[in-house]
Symmetry: C2
Subunit: 78 residues, 2 copies
């Protein structure tokens, strides 16, 4: 199984994108982890190191896919 990480902040745009991504992804090949950066603040640096500049974002195969726009990472940091 390959890993896919969905970073979000619980925003409406995030929830909508999460529903779409978890629906279309091939669950037989990808293990998707959902990370709420508002709650798991210690993982903000990890997300940024993967190239995440806004949420929601999916990191897969080393690439950050920003899916629509919920909030910037600056907003997430508060």
């Amino acid at each position: 199984m390959k890993k896919a990480t969905f970073y979000h902040a619980g925003c409406p745009v995030c929830v909508s994108a999460e529903e779409s991504i978890t629906t279309i992804i091939d669950a037989d090949r990808y293990d998707i982890e959902l990370v709420h950066l508002g709650e798991a603040r210690q993982r903000i640096a990890e997300a940024e190191s993967m190239g995440v500049v806004s949420v929601p974002a999916l990191v897969v195969d080393g690439r950050a896919l920003h899916i629509n726009f919920g909030a910037s990472m600056e907003d997430v940091k508060g």
Copy 2:
């Protein structure tokens, strides 16, 4: 099979997003169509009617997922 439509304009951001999306999507459940709006200009109105405001974008289950940012639809129209 459900349908997923990936609208793009051949830009580098589009190509990268296309590779990621076509890799992670469950091909057993989704039939993905790739539409180059620079070549299929008659489908620009269709994309906009689905909520696409920039490319690359994936429309699935009636939702437009804008994946990173390559170009605005205004730029695509030229």
